[in-house]
Amino acid sequence: MSSTAIRPEFPPEGGAPAAPHKSRWRGLLLPLAFLLPAFFFLGIWVVYSTFATMWRSLFSDRGDRFVGLDNYERMFTDEAVQTAIRNNVLWVLIIPAGVTAVGLVFAVLIEKVRWSIAFKIAVFIPLAVSLFAVGVIWRIMYQEDPERGAVNAAIVGVQGIFGDTGVLSSARPSTEAITGTPQGGLTLQEAIEPGDVALLGLTAIRADELPEGAVDAVEPEPLQGGITGVVWRDFKPGGGTPGEVESGELGIAGVTVELREGESSSAVESTTTEEDGTFVFEEVESGTYRVAIGAQTFAEPFAGFSWLGPTLITPAIMIAYIWVSAGFAMVIIAAGLSAIPRDTLEAARTDGATEFQVFRRITVPLLAPVLTVVFVTQIIAVLKIFDLVLAIAPGSSRDDATLLAFEMWRRSFSGQNLYGLGSAIATFLLLLFIPFLIVNVRRFRTEAK
């Protein structure tokens, strides 16, 4: 194992005075003296404890009984460990590729921007913050109530644009001619034929729900071969007659009105009301119909995803993880990018390649070694994730968020004291690192030669 190529030759004879006893001292004792402190730490904390854990995994939880491979059998039949393994697989499949892709995009985008340092710092900050603080940060972000959690608030903002929320949250029919509930839709019982006018009066509407600038309702004229009607707030201060459109009663805009054939409950056609509450179905084939106010009119406003609940907890933690790690990937890839010869890129551009072609055909292949480093580093990091699960997942979601490194701690130390099982999980985790270990050692040996 001599690797003289990159090692210094030692002083040749006649150079430094090298007495025989001194060279033996140099030969072994001197390096040992330099290495001893490191051997002490590595020997006890890392090497000894690794073997001790493997050995311990063959004994019962209390350590008083040899159980062979029972702990491993327990491990693979344990529901939480199975979830952890499944989650780990999911993480390894999604996150290293995702982080590398995000880092690559960021690195390419900032390449030609003057303020790239400011951008880098913004993306880098999470890397310096403790994962515990990251946990607090994201628990604030993920609060379920859209009034308090920024993530759900942002979703409400986007939803508002697409108008998925109903115009009303609750209402009651003003007369008995209309039946149903807001959740199932309100139906006018009287059959309607083309040429008729349907009057859909509602009450018990919260005043603040009527859109601003609502105008007085208008009873529409009948339409030959069509069905017209109005949806309005059948109420005015001082009373009024239920079922009649009177002045001072407001039309309700944006209500979904469905035309249903016969007794059927599915709509053949639907429309929304105008500002004055009126609606029109034109060119309706003759027959009998019913008119109903669709349930979506009363769609509850978005109540927020429960990011920290059992279903979404893993994606939620993944988002937080990408937020943390993007800076790492970006910096490594940006450094690789700056090492790519400009001439190659410029030549391709001169030859008429589009930016995307340059990226796809030249940048990415040249960056492949760097991308691999980021990718592999991320696999290793993902297998070691512990803090994020502890800090972000509330107790009730931990069973669903768990990962091997977390489960090992939970089984051994969070009051469960299952040291046999914990040792088995730790050993299994170490096993997952062996391929990377081999790759690392190989890489060094080829470098040394």
């Binding site: 210094p8 490191a38 900050i125 310096a128 940060i137 790492f328 130390f413």
Partner: protein, 295 residues
């Protein structure tokens, strides 16, 4: 090691004003997208910061963003309470002690070992280094159960030295790896000249190698400070009364929501120190990342 990515400016090629304008207009979307991303990346931390400045009643009232442009609602009350809270102050002091010890000690131990591995010829040297590389990947989980027992036997459990030693041990493989590669890059002539002048190995180590190794040592120190300061796992398992700040606060996460006035300032404050160190020395941090993205 020589590339300092953050400082590097793209090569500017001479071009006409018209091209410049054209290019700027063409890149407007890129600027916009980047600004949006930067904002997205800053918002979560900003949220923690603003939350930490709000009175409990305001925290309960609604999202922190409502108070973003309302500095009159901000108060340092939560921070004052935090510094009156003995358990948090103690935890911060313990964290500082552990961080200092667990940064200096492993760097010292690792640079000695790295020097031997780089500049002293001895049989089996490459095997030692290969072992170190292999140990790089051993997860901390591997040590918890046996060390927990040993710590109890030797009264190291729940002590500051116990935590320093644990952190030092797991810092060593990476530290030795990084420093050995850096030391090996020192010009051979320089070392030989010093040896011919009759300098002892120790003298060589302290007078030549350590000073030349400062950039690598600085990177390593920053990594280690961030790692130890931010550690949750080791502190959680190996300490109970004397827990560092992150594990100390982690137990409070259980009542999340009702105790944001305690959690938010403590989390932000505990993040300020590594952030400051990072901001001051980010050049070394980036260099370190580039030199050894293996850990």
């Amino acid at each position: 090691m020589a590339t300092t990515a953050v400082d590097q400016q793209p090569v500017v090629v001479e071009e006409s004003v018209a091209t410049k304008i054209g290019r700027f207009a063409g890149r407007a979307p890129v600027h916009l997208v980047l600004m949006l991303i930067a904002l997205m990346w800053l918002i979560p931390t900003l949220g923690l910061f603003i939350t930490s400045l709000l009175a409990p009643s305001d925290q309960a009232e609604g999202g922190w963003w409502n108070f973003l442009f309302q500095p009159s609602a901000w108060t340092l009350e939560n921070y004052r309470d935090m510094f009156d809270n003995d358990s948090i102050v103690d935890a911060l002091i313990i964290t500082a002690q552990i961080t200092l010890g667990a940064t200096v000690l492993p760097i010292l131990v690792a640079s000695l070992a790295a020097y031997a591995l780089a500049w002293i010829e001895f049989p089996g040297r490459d095997w030692v280094f290969l072992t170190v590389i292999a140990l790089l990947l051993v997860p901390i989980q591997m040590a918890l159960i046996p060390m927990f027992r040993i710590y109890n036997t030797f009264s190291l459990f729940d002590t500051i030295p116990g935590l320093i030693l644990f952190h030092s041990a797991f810092a060593l493989p990476f530290a030795i790896f990084l420093l050995r590669n850096f030391f090996a890059g020192i010009p051979r002539d320089l070392m030989e000249a010093a040896r011919i002048d009759g300098a002892s190995e120790l003298r060589l180590f302290f007078k030549v190698v350590l000073p030349l190794g400062i950039p690598a040592i600085a990177s390593l120190a920053i990594f280690q400070v961030l790692f130890v300061w931010n550690d949750l796992l080791i502190g959680l398992v190996m300490a109970q009364q004397n827990q560092p700040i992150a594990p100390e606060l982690a137990s409070q996460l259980r009542q999340f929501g009702s105790n944001l006035d305690v959690l938010a300032p403590a989390a932000f404050f505990s993040a300020v120190i590594p952030l400051t160190i990072f901001a001051l020395f980010q050049r070394y941090f980036v260099q370190g990342l580039l030199a050894g993205s293996v850990k």
